[in-house]
Subunit: 225 residues, 2 copies
């Protein structure tokens, strides 16, 4: 069995304190000395607990100014262990499959649940994406943001945290296709956006299916013998 150290137990206590006292992103935590006092453990244990919470992206330490609640809301880097999956081609295919399972439904939910300001932000990202495409610049980060904003539009907070893990996984670990499909990307994102804005959930779902399948088929055409 993998046993829990005193530092891990203290990290757990600290996390409970953070929740109970309602700390939010950006809030400053008590000093090390105060935590030694309130948690009843030694300074080294408090430091280890803070390091654990830092590595879980729950807190962040800013040199010289103290410890703060992280903006990353406890979503760690590579939380699903993609970096441990050695077969990159299989990982890519699995990522594509997960996106096909999730994102069309998510687009339909977004069409149903998006608030006006969510749609404005989605439109802004879509326009920035179109600008990058017209200038033939790398748009992969903006593309991820577009899909992440659709997750935000769904108002399901688990999806808000999960979709960036998937899109980040695609950017970091997936085997990408050689040719960039500028025009297809531009028109697909525009049609997805318009369907969501006009509350046409089924159209949003189908456009998302088409967009993801188009890319999936390009990937297959390049990698299969």
């Amino acid at each position: 069995m993998e046993k829990q150290t005193l530092g891990e137990k203290t990290a757990q206590m600290l996390l409970e304190m953070i929740q109970k006292e309602g700390f939010g992103p950006g809030d400053k935590l008590p000093t090390e000395a105060e935590l030694v006092e309130s948690l009843g453990v030694g300074r080294n244990t408090v430091r280890e607990a803070l390091r654990i919470l830092m590595s879980r992206n729950i807190v962040t330490i800013r040199q010289g100014s103290g410890t703060f609640i992280s903006e990353k809301k406890g979503v760690v880097d590579d939380p699903l262990g993609f970096s441990m999956m050695e077969d990159r081609r299989r990982l890519t295919e699995d990522l594509i499959q997960v996106r096909l399972m999730l994102e069309p439904q998510l687009a339909a939910l977004a069409a149903q649940n998006a608030a006006e300001e969510d749609l404005q932000k989605l439109e802004q990202i879509k326009e920035e994406l179109e600008d990058l495409i017209r200038q033939r610049k790398d748009y992969s980060l903006k593309d991820s943001q577009f899909h992440e904003q659709i997750a935000n539009c769904s108002h399901n907070q688990i999806m808000t945290n999960l979709v960036p893990v998937i899109t980040e996984g695609v950017r970091m670990f997936a085997v990408s296709v050689q040719e960039t499909e500028y025009e297809q990307t531009l028109s697909s994102h525009r049609r997805i956006f318009e369907a969501i804005r006009e509350r046409r959930g089924e159209d949003a779902k189908m456009e998302m299916y088409f967009h993801l399948m188009y890319n999936s088929n390009r990937y297959r055409a390049e990698t299969e013998p």
Copy 2:
């Protein structure tokens, strides 16, 4: 900005070494002294790097015997930050929604992709679950295992890592219904299992929808005014 410490950089180097050398779960890592030598950093930095990889569930330290690759395959505890979501009722509804989006499709994939030994394991879990239900014992852990094994049957390794996060989230954080539905649970799981075993993907999907919606409706009936 949140800056990277020397320990974090070293953790990254160590992770790359683990991947390059093909270490798998349970394998023993080189000693601290050997890592000091091969990574060209001090002992304290190696220790910090190991602590970081430990907190990401990539390695585990067994007192007295050394450092090993963790069986958790780099999937961290609470990777999607459920513990930071304060509204438990909303979290429960979001979890139910995510399960409804994922698990019916996953049951269909399982019916298509499960190998013979996957099905045997699923059957065994189903039987253990039925035993617990007949004895009117707490079956929540076995129930989670059943859903996790369906993810394994799908042969999508992201789902293999993601579904336990969701089912664990339900067990740890969700507001549960008061009454236990023994007979309904027993017959639902049996029908899901039989559809998967007989490669009836569409039936497996529909049975999973029914099972999840049944529980979702019970939850709503209890919590809505």
